[in-house]
């Protein structure tokens, strides 16, 4: 419990010198990052900059080749082995993943389950919690994302924005310490983006620690405590959104912003 007691000091997420290659292409060239408890961090950058890959390394959906990544005092996918790291077995990885929520660009709701069942699946299968308790919590979560009247609908009967809000509720049902968002609004029709961002903003206000890969500069400006601008597998610059987005120091950031804002 000491981790909780001094939790305000210890960062929720920490990474240093993370490297990853796909074959001969190095997509992450030594990333450092630190996210405090309750902090919201947005990762910005052109496609191919490595930001989604980095995010997927955090809950070990991707492996990395070198570096350290800690979530709440634990390494996620590895344990020390001499002076190197060795991959954990799939059972241990699964346990550590269960404390990290993830929201995907393509929603990835379980297509054969209703909205309510989607939200209940994790706690029931992974944590083996009692159905009645899980169901009450799931209904409350769906209510919180504004879908109380959609609990019995299958994903195919929901709009993209509704599906993404169910996906957020599904991730929250595991009561995670950290939420990862991988371009959560990129696959949505423009008029549906607002609903999803509103739910995320509410979540940030409630004190959830969030790492968000996004192209929504407006969201980053209003909600993020800090933004990281990535390009070519490195962090080009980071800081409060007011600094990075309004007065970028680096030429690459300026070029990206002028293109996006044009």
């Amino acid at each position: 419990m000491s981790a909780v007691a001094d939790g305000s000091q210890e960062p929720m997420f920490q990474a240093w010198d993370v490297h990853k290659s796909f074959g001969h292409v190095e997509v992450l060239k030594g990333i450092d990052m630190s996210v405090a408890r309750g902090e919201v961090v947005c990762l910005l950058g052109p496609s191919g900059s490595g930001k989604s890959t980095f995010l997927r390394c955090i809950n070990h959906l991707e492996k990395f080749d070198r570096g350290e990544m800690w979530v709440g005092g634990d390494r996620v996918g590895y344990r020390p082995h001499g002076d190197k790291l060795k991959e954990l077995n799939e059972r241990e990885v699964a346990v550590r993943r269960s404390g990290i929520g993830m929201v995907f660009q393509g929603f990835n709701l379980f297509a054969h389950r209703t909205a309510l069942e989607n939200v209940m699946e994790g706690p029931m299968v992974v944590r083996r919690e009692k159905r009645s308790i899980v169901e009450r919590r799931a209904r409350a979560l769906l209510d919180r994302v504004g879908l109380a009247d959609r609990v019995d609908n299958y994903p195919s009967q929901l709009s993209g924005g509704q599906q993404q809000r169910v996906a957020i509720a599904r991730a929250l049902a595991m009561q995670p310490d950290l939420m990862l968002f991988d371009e959560p609004t990129s696959a949505l029709d423009p008029e549906l983006v607002g609903d999803v961002l509103a739910v995320m903003r509410q979540l940030a206000d409630d004190g959830m620690t969030m790492i968000v890969v996004t192209h929504e500069l407006g969201f980053a400006r209003e909600v993020a405590d800090r933004v990281y601008f990535m390009d070519g597998g490195v962090v080009v610059e980071s800081g409060p959104p007011a600094e990075v987005l309004e007065r970028p120091r680096e030429a690459r950031t300026q070029a990206f912003l002028s293109k996006v804002l044009a």
């Binding site: 993943r97 993830m102 995907f104 709701l109 297509a111 054969h112 389950r113 699946e121 299958y154």
Partner: protein
């Protein structure tokens, strides 16, 4: 991008008269073809019923005779058991085939190649004559005589089941591959282990793709069980054959067998429809969950 409202109707042309009614199109050729087909069918039916060499009275005598009914029961049992072996082993082989381990996946490939590449009849005979290759079969300390172990029933189950597993593994594999990888990713992100991802998320959705060809396989298996005639397991076909070799009423007994096969495959098709509907849930825009549709019906009743 220009969306100027088009409100004005086109000007009435100078040669306009009263607008005409469109006649429905007639299809005389369709009617003629239908008449020809009906004539042929009617002719065929009268031929079959009128031809006394079909011996319909003998068919009637044997259709529900005790040995035939027992044969039907054994055919059903053999179909179910062989399909159970085929599906169970087929899932295992499909999973092995998709394994990242090259030895496992090529072993699975070789299995499919071997059992699909040799005639089922040959396989059945091989299993039946296994004792010629291995007089005794042993595990650890225990050993049994192959002649005792391999009865017509065990040979039939091995032959039909192992052959079916090769086909089922391909069906299951295509079903698993049809589930988008994001589904498994989302399940792992929630913290499910690989086996849970498979059982709870991938396989239930793969079923939608797996069920229709499996229905075909089951109906195919029903008829393939007739091949066990060659190793003398007395299911429906062997029973019919035993009777007609004694009484020489070959045609009527073949009809008895055929009628039973037809009846059972009709029942299986109906069952397939309901299983398909069950596993199709979530994939059709028209159907909502049972609870939601019940609520909707109640709502209508109230309104």
């Amino acid at each position: 991008m220009t969306s100027a409202p088009v409100t004005e109707t086109p000007a009435r042309p100078a040669f306009a008269r009263d607008a005409r009614v469109v006649l429905s199109t007639r299809h005389p050729a369709r009617w003629a073809m239908a008449a020809v087909v009906l004539l042929v069918v009617a002719g065929g039916i009268t031929q079959v019923i009128g031809n006394e060499r079909f011996q319909w009275d003998v068919v009637g005598d044997y259709l529900f005779a005790q040995p035939i009914l027992q044969g039907v029961a054994r055919t059903l049992m053999l179909t179910a058991a062989a399909m159970a072996i085929g599906v169970g082993l087929g899932v295992v082989i499909a999973v092995l085939r998709l394994s990242p381990n090259p030895i496992l996946s090529s072993a699975a490939w070789t299995y499919s190649w071997f059992f699909r590449g040799t005639p089922l009849l040959v396989q059945l005979l091989f299993w039946y004559f296994l004792a010629a290759l291995y007089p005794t079969i042993g595990f650890g300390g225990a050993s049994w005589s192959a002649n005792e172990l391999i009865s017509p029933l065990t040979a039939a189950l091995l032959g039909l089941g192992l052959n079916e597993a090769a086909y089922m593994s391909e069906i299951v594999r295509s079903g698993i591959l049809s589930v988008p990888p994001g589904q498994a990713e989302a399940a792992s992100a929630v913290g499910m282990r690989r086996s849970q991802v498979m059982r709870r998320v991938v396989l239930p959705q793969a079923m939608r793709v797996i069920i229709p060809p499996t229905g075909n396989e089951t109906i195919g298996m029903l008829k393939h069980t007739a091949l066990v005639l060659v190793i003398g397991y007395t299911e429906l076909m062997t029973t019919a054959s035993n009777i007609y070799s004694r009484t020489y009423q070959t045609i009527p007994l073949l009809i008895v067998a055929a009628l039973w096969y037809l009846a059972i495959s009709a029942v299986l098709s109906v069952g397939q429809y309901f299983i398909e509907r069950h596993f199709g849930r979530g994939f059709s825009h028209h159907r909502v969950s049972r609870r939601a549709s019940r609520a909707a019906r109640k709502g209508e009743a109230v309104a």
